[in-house]
Symmetry: C2
């Protein structure tokens, strides 16, 4: 029940032991084509989706180094640990970075975006983390992009959607996002090791423009060119791609990416209702993510005990806080192959653990609130 | 029987379906530590080995971008398709590249190296492909490094050992190689998706020197620092690492990396004896690799038919030639989990296929020559 690596789909596990086809063999092509097609649906784009043998960080580095050159001015909405990292990547490649730090739980809306851009003009790029795993906060990508472009019409937008894809809609083409990044280990229900980059037509134009942007392994032009022939430019992580094929086929059979997003949103609402019933605060109450819910422990210092007791006494893996949030919060993920029954069991266990740690509660309170929320929207 | 992706070890297949530990969980650390230890043995180094979620090309990019800065002069021994690629990577990052093209089968020895370095001084780096997969040729890394350093004592050496590790000894520390690159899908007997970079102490010093070298995802300093705590800096390809752990444990039980190198060398000698008995020439007769043997078809244009018949009529996968070598050669790999019985079966099948295609031979000739060679050294 962590916010990733998320549970691997059973069909993906089965695919992991298939005999490995050669990545240049004819039999691999239709399978990679099927993966491409399902990734296009997930990222809501008609163009190719770069499938990199890399972690999500590699995918974001690819987006930045393909869209921007040294000297470009990049605004990074640093909504948590990962937002901060993207500023470091851009700086590392000689870009001029302005980080807009957000306190955990703080809301960053269109007005704040317009103001931040205006104060840093001219701005060539903006990096937005759609769902910040470390705080459980979400950003309204569509509204932020509109606000940014009102001030700086030509600004290129990079969306870290690593945790967001499959938990909330991210419209690559419709919102004209220049690059949207994902990773295999989140809602895609396979192990880590694959990074994804989708671009709108406008994003691909920028990737292909003739500016000096040193990149080779992460050169997205190569991935797009080879994808047209259902191939990758370098040896792909073949087994992970077969696992992804199986997981995405299962997802398609179960209603596709929209059903997955709705599932995450329902589970997130139910989790928030449960927290409220227990008298617990959310870290990102004003703009909560559907991918992960960050809940404040009844008192500071108690969160690690909750996480440890859930894991050691009951075998339920929830995530602790990172860095300075460690004493205060724990996080429940809603990504991928997780259903209502998993969540209700987790919440019932949370009640027992909190009670055992001396928090005053009536057993069943959280579960009842969550169930009522689940029933309320059918 | 291709020169990679090589067969996946059965223990690695079994590990692929294990429940996935979280990559930051305590239970993952000893497993990553075991992988590190076995990789150190394979690369013959006491230092950390960078384990990247990437293909082998990513590993070579990491070596180049961590050792060299824009403007550095790099000599690339372009012994085939992959040698050529490393020149492109270096150029892409602003290095000044001199490529020494080798015709397929041509020998490049210490004299040629000394001459090439002298003609391009000052030279900051040399890139050597120890075993060139596309031609079946090997380079004498130790002798070439010595020759290069006689002319240019401070030159940094990058060895593409992607196909070489496990087929021939590559002494990272003893030969003071600055960076040695490998990939999971060759003699390591797991699927593609992991890149490796080992450095000698002198190589690590260069990686850490304070020159402007933009890299983030491939920043080897981060991998070394986190390896000290049995971790990776970014989300690793966890399932592939567990598979690698299992494959390397099996390798250790079977005599370790030296036994694997000896196996490859024996199979390569037997394959060469078989080719000679069939009256077929080798592409790289003067400096053949133990990783892969490239054999000339009886006549130009016939090689694709041999490869197709082996595969379609008998289910034996040998590799064809690449690019302009396609009509002329086919290649038999000796990497990893392949034994004498596999090879003899392949050679017997080759006899049948050649005979069916009209090549005049006595069935059993190649197998007998190979068996005699296998028996000759115990």
């Amino acid at each position: 029940m962590t916010p990733g690596p998320a549970p691997v789909h059973p069909d993906a596990v089965a695919a992991a032991v298939e005999p490995l086809p050669h990545h240049r063999a004819a039999e691999f092509k239709p399978r990679f084509a099927a993966v491409q097609q399902n990734l296009q649906a997930a990222f809501r784009t008609a163009g190719p989706v770069g499938v990199l043998a890399s972690s999500g960080t590699g995918a974001v580095e690819a987006a930045l180094t393909n869209l921007f050159a040294a000297g470009d001015r990049i605004l990074v909405v640093a909504s948590g640990k990962f937002g901060e990292r993207w500023g470091e990547v851009a700086e590392c490649f000689g870009m001029r970075v302005r980080s807009v730090p957000m306190s955990p739980g703080e809301v960053f809306g269109p007005d704040e975006m317009a103001e931040a851009i205006a104060a840093f003009r001219p701005v060539q790029g903006v990096v937005i983390t759609a769902s910040e795993t470390s705080t459980g906060g979400a950003l309204d990508v569509k509204a932020l992009v509109r606000a940014a472009r009102r001030v700086e019409p030509e600004v290129a937008i990079v969306v870290d959607a690593i945790t967001a894809v499959g938990a909330m809609p991210v419209e690559t083409d419709k919102w004209e996002l220049d690059a949207v990044c994902g990773g295999s280990q989140k809602a895609f229900m396979v192990p880590p090791g694959l990074g994804f980059v989708a671009c709108s037509p406008r994003g691909w134009d920028r990737v292909r423009e003739a500016r000096k942007k040193p990149r080779f392994y992460f050169d997205l032009r190569k991935y797009a060119d080879r994808a047209a022939d259902d191939q990758t430019p370098f040896t792909p992580a073949t087994s992970l791609i077969l696992e992804l094929e199986a997981a995405l086929r299962a997802l398609d059979d179960a209603g596709g990416i929209k059903a997955l997003e709705q599932n995450a949103a329902r589970l997130a609402r139910a989790t928030r209702a449960a927290a409220a019933a227990l008298g617990l605060d959310l870290l990102s109450a004003d703009a909560p993510s559907s991918a992960v819910t960050a809940i404040r422990a009844p008192r500071s210092g108690m969160a690690p005990d909750i996480v440890a007791a859930m894991r050691q006494d009951h075998g339920v893996y929830v995530a602790g806080g990172q860095g300075e949030l460690k004493p205060d919060i724990f996080r429940i993920g809603h990504l991928g192959y997780i259903d209502e029954v998993d969540l209700l069991g987790t919440l019932a266990t949370l009640e027992r653990v909190l009670s055992g740690l001396g928090h005053d509660l009536q057993l069943g309170t959280a579960v009842a609130a969550a169930a009522a929320e689940l029933d309320s929207d059918g």
